[in-house]
Symmetry: C2
Subunit: 180 residues, 2 copies
């Protein structure tokens, strides 16, 4: 197995505690960043998911609601370009949001073919709740002095605190045991 032999010797990941202190940026392979990005994103979308479930909505609804809230007057074409999905996919979730009163459409003024999208008050309130939990995680992560120092510290700080130790423990395992 040539590839496993090519694995570099394990370098140390900053311990979770270091995030509290004003630690520097210890070396960290970009391989580690791949996983940290996975874990950070997993927890990052996990927060809003719990709220959305109460409304019977999913992540697709979240994305639409978020961008319409943040960029009022967005057209369908712009939204499609942002989300990179087909109009059929978009239409399914957009229809839900419109029918249930979270998003409203307005015919474009300069081009009457366009449907400009806006959040209703209810929609803006829900979008605000969703943004809040994500902002809370980000703010908490950025509050760690080490977080701004390096991408890996930032991503580690984005992970749910209870799970940071488990992630660090796992990542400390790389290249160890396990020969077939």
């Amino acid at each position: 197995m040539p590839r496993s032999a090519a694995r570099p010797a394990a370098r140390t990941l900053p311990s979770p505690d270091m995030l509290a202190e004003g630690a520097g940026a210890p070396p960290c392979s970009s391989d580690d960043l791949i996983e940290l990005l996975f874990f950070a994103y997993r927890d990052f979308v996990g927060d809003p998911d719990r709220i959305l479930a109460e409304y019977g909505f999913g992540r697709a609804h979240h994305r639409v609601l978020h961008f319409v809230d943040r960029y009022p007057g967005l057209t369908i074409a712009e939204l499609l370009d942002i989300l990179r999905i087909t109009k059929q996919s978009l239409n399914r979730v957009l229809k839900d949001l419109i029918e249930q009163g979270y998003i409203a459409q307005k015919t474009g003024t300069s081009d009457r073919r366009q449907r400009l999208l806006y959040c209703t008050q209810t929609g803006a309130a829900l979008a605000g709740d969703l943004t809040r939990v994500q902002t809370r995680r980000l703010t908490r992560a950025l509050a760690a002095p080490a977080a701004a120092a390096s991408p890996e510290n930032f991503l580690l700080a984005m992970i749910e605190p209870d799970e940071r130790a488990a992630v660090s423990r796992l990542m400390a395992r790389r290249g160890q045991q396990g020969a077939a």
Copy 2:
């Protein structure tokens, strides 16, 4: 609409060009980070997706292959804890990877109930290809002097270069036009 009135005045996002120079870290709201994380992650998983499609695999296969490659001897239970999916979901993709010779199982020695997972040579090769494209993006992003300076610069640098301008243009729009 109380919420839109509460929106802070638009602060400037670092321009895409600034990533090439040794720019400092201009202020950036955590609202911006939410979107940057979305765009960065979208492009980050887009690279391997193209390769996986050639093999008839999806992202679920990628995640399994990645963690088994990186942590040889991983058990099913550990993998379930990492991925946070049900064993039924895991089993579907794992079965594909085993049947097609990318992953092999070994009965645990200390506990014979466990199935220890290992990549075959073919599996390790594919995992390597997938890691390579993601590492390339990460390395390129980290090479930008400004990237290490702040999370927002790092995330912006992770976005596909061709699209950075479009993202910046979009984000510069916040709070502008669009009153109903």
